[in-house]
Amino acid sequence: MDAEILKNLIVDDKDRGVFRVNRKVFTESSILELERREIFDRCWLYAGHESEIAKPGDFITRRVGGRPLLLVRGKDGIVRAFYNACTHRGNLVVREKKGNAPAFSCFYHAWSFDTKGALIGVPGEDAYTDAFNRAEMALQQVPRFDSYRGLMFVCYDANAVSLADYLGDEARLRIDYFLDYGKGDSSEIAAGAQSYSIKANWKLLVENSIDGYHVLSTHQRYLRKYLPDIGLDPGKWLAKRHPGTSRGRSLGNGHAVIETLDRGTPLTATAGEELAEIRADMVRRFGEDYTHRAADYQRNLFIFPNLIMISMWKTLRTIYPVSPDYMEVDAWALFPSGDTPELRQRRMENFLSFLGPAGMATPDDVAGLEGCQLGFAAREAEWSDISRGMGSIPTGSDELQMRAFWRQWHAKVQGIGGPVDCDDKAHEEDVSTTAEGSNQ
C-alpha cells in the first residue's frame, strides 16, 4: 500500500482533539498482510500459561500468530515452545490439544522426539548418508520464548527487545495487580476454554475490550435487568464516570488500560467476606497503598497487539485475524491457585453470567462488532471516530486507551521502529501516569 495512503489512514489532531480511523483498515486484505508482517511476526504474543503444563511431559498445542505451536514441559522441568511441525516433512507432530506424553511421534513416517525436542527415533535411519545429523533435525524452537509470572509469550522476530522491555514497567505493574489480588502466590488456568469467532475485523474486538463507552447501551440488559434480578444495585455502573475514580491510560508500546474504582459485581456480592479476608492478607504482604491499587480497581488491560486481561472476571483473551472480516477468539479464566472451592465457584458464576459466547453480554458484543463490519460495506462512509476525551482527562468511558492502540498500530504498519508517543496531549492536571493519581 502506498506510503501516503497508509499515513492518512489515521487522522490524529491532538490540538483540535480529533481522532479518526479510516475504515479501510478493517476491510483491506493488503492491510492484513501488513499487520501479519509488521505486527504479528514481530511483537511478543501470549501463548499460554505455565499452569497448563505444570508437570514434566505435560503439553498443549495451539495456534499462536498463525503458527501451530507445541508447548511442553520437558522431563527436565523446563518449559519450551516448539513449532508443531515435523522436521522431516512438516506434518503436525502432535494432534491432541493437550495431554502428557513421554515422547512425541509423528505418524506420517514415525519420527519421534523427546520432551526436550530431541529427535530420538528415525525408522530405517541406515538409508541416510553420514550427512544426516539428528541434532539438526530436532524439533525447531520458536526464535524467542519467555515468561512473565507464569504468562508464556513467544516472538517470531529473533531481534525483538526482551519481553520485560516490551511489556514495560506500567503494563507489568497492571499484570502484577491482576495476579496479586488473590490467595497464594500463583494462578492457574481453569478447566473450560472458550474458543469462538466473530465475523468482524480483529481490531474491533481490541477496541471493544477496552471500551467503557459501549457498556451502558450494549450491555443494558445485564446492568438494568440481570443485576437487579439477582438483587444487585447497578447504580455505580450507571453513574457518569469521573477522572477521580475512572481513568483510561496509555501504558506505552501500545499497551493501555481502563481502571475504575470497583462498581460491584455478582462476585463481590456473593463472596464479599472472603474477598475482604484476601484483601486484608494483601495489606500484610504488600502494604495498604499497593493493595488499594491492586484490589479496589477493576481493570481492562490491553497488551499490544492482541492480549486482553480483565480483572473483574480474571479473564485472559487473545484475538487473531483469519481474514479482514473474520477473527478467532480464545478466552480463559486465570484464577488464583489458593481459591477455596466456594470462591472458585463464585468466580466462575460471575465470569459466565457476563462473558463468553453464551453469557448475558458477550453475544451482544459479537452482534455489535459483526454489525460494524456489515456497516463498513458502505464504502463512502469512510471514517470511524475515536475522539472521546481528547480535550480533558480521559475517564474509562473515553477513548484514550483505544487511541493508544491505534497510534502504536499506525506506527507499526508503516514500519516505523522505536518508541511511539501513544498518549494524548498532556493536560495540566494530569501529573501522574500511574494509578496513584486516581486514589482520591
Binding site: A190, G192, Q194, S195, Y196, S197, T218, D364
Partner: protein, 163 residues
C-alpha cells in the same frame, strides 16, 4: 401403596417434541414453566464436555433465577444478539431413557439445532442429558444439560438463544 410406574420412553419423546416446539416458537415463558424450582440449565465447555460446573468454567450454568432473567432478557428489546430474533429449527432424535427410578429419570437425546439470522446459518449439534421428574402437571426438568459436539464455536461465535 403401589409405587408409581417408571417414566417411559414414549412419555419422554412426547415431552421433548413439545418442548422443542415451545423453543422454536419463542414461547419461552411457557417453556420456563417446565422447570422445577431446583433446575439447572447447563452447557458444558466444548473442550470438557463431561465436566461439572462447580470446578469447570461452563458456557452456561443457570439456576432458576438466572434462567428466568435470561428468558426475560431474550423476550425484551435489548438482547441485541437476538434482535431481530433468530429462527431456529430443532430436530430431536435417538431418545433414550438411561435410568428410571420412581418419579425421576435420566434421559438423553441427540439434537441438531439450525439457527438463521442476519443471512447467516449455523448448526448446533450435540446431545441432551436431562434429569426429569414426573409431577401432577407432567414431566418437568430437574437438570437440562445441552452437550455440544462442536470442537470450537466457529463460525457460530455465540449461543445467544436457548439451546
Amino acid at each position: 401403596m403401589s409405587q408409581a410406574a417408571p417414566i417411559t420412553l414414549g412419555e419422554v419423546e412426547r415431552f421433548f417434541v413439545e418442548e422443542a416446539a415451545l423453543l422454536d416458537e419463542w414461547r419461552l415463558v411457557e417453556w420456563l414453566g417446565l422447570m422445577t424450582e431446583e433446575v439447572r440449565y447447563l452447557i458444558p465447555p466444548l473442550d470438557a464436555p463431561e465436566s461439572e460446573p462447580h470446578n469447570t468454567l461452563f458456557l452456561v450454568s443457570d439456576n432458576l433465577v438466572n434462567l428466568r432473567s435470561r428468558v426475560e432478557q431474550l423476550l425484551g428489546r435489548s438482547s441485541w444478539a437476538e434482535n431481530p430474533r433468530s429462527r431456529t429449527r430443532r430436530l430431536i432424535t435417538n431418545v433414550r431413557v438411561l435410568e428410571a427410578d420412581g418419579d425421576q429419570a435420566l434421559v438423553t437425546a441427540n439434537f441438531a439445532v439450525w439457527r438463521f439470522q442476519m443471512e447467516s446459518t449455523d448448526v448446533y449439534v450435540g446431545r441432551y442429558r436431562n434429569r426429569l421428574r414426573r409431577t401432577g402437571q407432567g414431566l418437568r426438568f430437574v437438570e437440562r444439560r445441552a452437550i455440544l459436539d462442536l470442537d470450537v464455536l466457529r463460525p457460530h461465535g455465540k449461543i445467544s438463544f436457548i439451546l
